[in-house]
């Protein structure tokens, strides 16, 4: 959302319209207590905008209102909007709403001077009767057509606008578009506060509606066009713009539901990021989304699953086969399926429904399966613009979104629909590998903004317990092995490792034995040595004793001869 614009707009006090998307693009609603001119050709939705402004005022903001129609009869209006859930009869009966039908004859005989005071009287009377805060004058050009004196009319119109402002009423005046101007009688001159234009174009057989804030007091913005639709809930504006890139970014990570993928992504996806899963048919894109759905619902968060090709029942059944039970979340109210065929409606209609559902259901995660469904028969540029807006819408709301995209195989595999890959934060590419008579899958993280991700391909294995990513194995030539070839190779590797291990073990054992042997020998030698030692000692001892004995004997001999001791050399 363009924050610059919002800041300027927020200086004025606002009167919230309650119309889906409009309050967002107008920075809170219409200027409070001012008059707004709503212009558009017949059938563009002016009356509906007006009546919704009044009804939401009553039902959501407790403000009563007066609806003055110079066109449709009151009963017709009541019937027309009953299908949208607006009970105008009840509101009138309860004194919250006054509907005035102004009858204007075809020919008005003017006999002199006049003014439109009676209209003012009627308006005032009604406003007082219900204590109205909101007023709509629908189809004012009819009033102008009924009278011939334009100068009187212009004077009265100016007076009307001033009177409304004095009464502090927030008013919408609707008018038919002029050929060159926004209104047939140059009414824009008198309304300086706010001018809105509605447009209906037919492009490629599809009706596209646009709303534009032409003028908004206090704002410098030139008025972006926003797409809107009129659906079963009424007026829905899609508050998405390609101009604003200001939104809060989260550093929080959310799990993808697949452990090995979380590892690849250093923890998971950033909350509020957009993820594209592309791949050829049957590569398992939906299963990735299902894992994320499962994980998010388990955390108590809500998921919206927009199914464009398969029915919700089919999706639930398919995911059951890989061990994911989505039905439990649907029953718990955490998972909402929105099944629709892309060709049934134009892009904007789809976007409107999704916007509507998101406003009511407030999911944390959205899955669009597949986004490539929109490629059918629509101008590529339009689709890209729409997708930019979609991604912006989700980012603004902090919704994590997964887009599945079907690609054709071969070289075109990496060329996704309308360059969606450049818009998203994470791009997971699923590829098929054919090798050794088998076709297996691999996943590649093509891009992951802000995440340090591995550039390695992982084998993508789908079993009845879900998705598993395995490190890839290369053979001697550097080819990727998947499936059975990989298992074989793994076995070989394990085998080789085992052999190596046992070899080492054996050698270790051998050395151990040698040591033991050596130590045994040493022990023996030591023992022998000790023996010898003892023997030598004994020998020495004997010698000593003998010498001693000899010495003693000699001394004895000397003593007996009483002669001087003869020292005999020993």
């Amino acid at each position: 959302m363009a924050e610059i614009t919002t800041n300027l707009l927020s200086q004025l006090e606002k009167c919230p319209t309650g119309i889906v998307g409009f309050d967002e693009i107008s920075g809170g609603g219409l200027p409070l207590g001012r008059v707004c001119l709503l212009s558009g050709y017949a059938g563009t939705g002016k009356s509906l905008f007006g009546i919704e402004f009044i009804v939401h005022g009553i039902e959501q903001f407790g403000e009563h209102g007066v609806f003055i129609s110079f066109e449709e009869s009151a009963t017709e209006l009541t019937t027309n909007v009953a299908s949208l859930g607006f009970d105008l009869k009840e509101h009138q009966a309860q004194g919250r709403l006054k509907i005035i039908q102004v009858e204007l004859p075809n020919i008005m005989v003017e006999t002199g001077e006049y003014d439109l005071k009676a209209l003012f009287i009627r308006l005032n009377f009604a406003v007082q009767a219900v204590g109205a805060k909101r007023v709509v004058l629908d189809g004012i050009e009819n009033l102008f057509s009924a009278f011939s004196d334009l100068s009187i009319l212009r004077t009265e119109f100016r007076r009307l606008v001033n009177w409304l402002k004095e009464q502090n009423l927030t008013a919408i005046i609707t008018t038919e578009r002029g050929r060159y101007e926004l209104s047939r009688h140059g009414l824009e001159e008198y309304i300086a506060d706010c001018v809105i234009a509605l447009d209906l174009r037919i492009e490629r057989q599809l009706a596209t509606r646009r709303i534009r804030i032409v003028k908004y007091r206090g704002s410098a913005h030139g008025g972006d066009e926003y797409p809107f639709v009129l659906d079963s809930t009424g007026f829905v504006v899609m508050p998405i713009t390609s101009a604003g890139l200001f939104y809060e970014v989260s550093n929080e990570k959310v799990t993808s539901g697949i452990e090995s993928l979380d590892e690849l992504l250093a923890g998971g996806y950033y909350r509020g990021s957009s993820i594209l899963v592309s791949g050829t048919s049957g590569t398992g894109k939906s299963s990735i989304a299902a894992h994320m759905t499962n994980a998010s619902c388990r955390d108590g968060k809500r998921t919206l699953y927009v199914a464009m090709e398969e029915s919700p029942q089919q999706i639930e059944r398919n995911m059951r086969s890989i061990g994911i039970n989505l039905a439990q979340w649907r029953e718990a109210g955490l998972l909402l399926f929105h099944a629709t065929r892309p060709t049934a409606n134009g892009l904007e209609k789809h976007l409107a429904s999704i916007t509507n559902i998101i406003t009511q259901f407030k999911p944390d995660v959205v899955v669009i399966d597949p986004i490539s469904a929109f490629d059918v028969g629509v101008n590529e540029e339009t689709v890209k613009l729409m997708l930019i807006r979609v991604v912006d819408l989700f980012k603004n709301k902090g919704i994590t979104v997964i887009f599945n995209s079907l690609t054709v195989g071969g070289d075109a595999e990496e060329r996704t629909s309308v360059g969606l890959s450049s818009l998203v934060d994470v791009w997971l590419l699923l590829r098929n590998f054919e090798f050794g008579g088998e076709r297996n899958r691999a996943l590649y993280v093509c891009k992951a903004r802000g995440i340090a991700h591995s550039n390695q391909v992982r084998e993508f294995i789908l079993s009845d317990s879900g998705i598993r990513l395995e490190n890839i194995i290369l053979d001697e030539k550097g080819n990727i092995l998947t499936g059975s070839a990989r298992i074989l190779r793994e076995t070989q590797i394990i085998g080789a490792e085992t052999i190596q291990k046992s070899d080492i073990q054996r050698r270790a054992d051998a050395i151990k034995k040698k040591r033991e042997l050596l130590e045994a020998q040493i022990a023996i030698m030591r023992a022998e040595f000790e023996d010898k030692e003892l023997a030598i000692e004994a020998e020495l001892e004997r010698e000593r004793l003998r010498i001693q004995a000899t010495g003693v004997a000699l001394n004895e001999l000397a003593n007996r001869r009483n002669l001087a001791t003869i020292e005999k050399p020993l």
């Binding site: 005989v109 006999t111 439109l116 009377f125």
Partner: protein
């Protein structure tokens, strides 16, 4: 054939003038109306003046948008004209009064 000349019946014209307060415009309208009726309808008329400021609900019930508005209630059908009635021709035309000068 003059439809409004009485042959057997006497039709009393019932004219209602709706004004929004006593302004110069409404005062003019009232005097213009009285003069015109005297001239063209002699005694065969009844004028009612309704001030919408005093009785605003009439504005809604009679579907009045401009003031002054003059409604011919009788004879039927109902005819409505607006303005201060200064343009005599237009008034006679609008009310479908044929001048009685014959």
């Amino acid at each position: 054939m003059n439809e409004f000349e009485e042959d057997e019946e006497i039709v009393i014209w019932h004219l209602c003038l709706y004004i929004a307060g006593r302004t110069t415009k409404s005062v003019d309208a009232i005097s213009n109306l009285k003069k015109l009726c005297e001239e063209s309808l002699k005694d065969r008329y009844r004028i009612e003046i309704i001030d919408l400021l005093e009785r605003p609900h009439f504005a809604e019930s009679e579907q009045i948008v401009a003031t002054p508005t003059l409604i011919r209630k009788l004879p039927e059908p109902i005819r409505k004209i607006i303005g201060d009635l200064s343009n005599k021709e237009k008034v006679l035309l609008g009310l479908e009064i044929k001048p009685i000068e014959k």
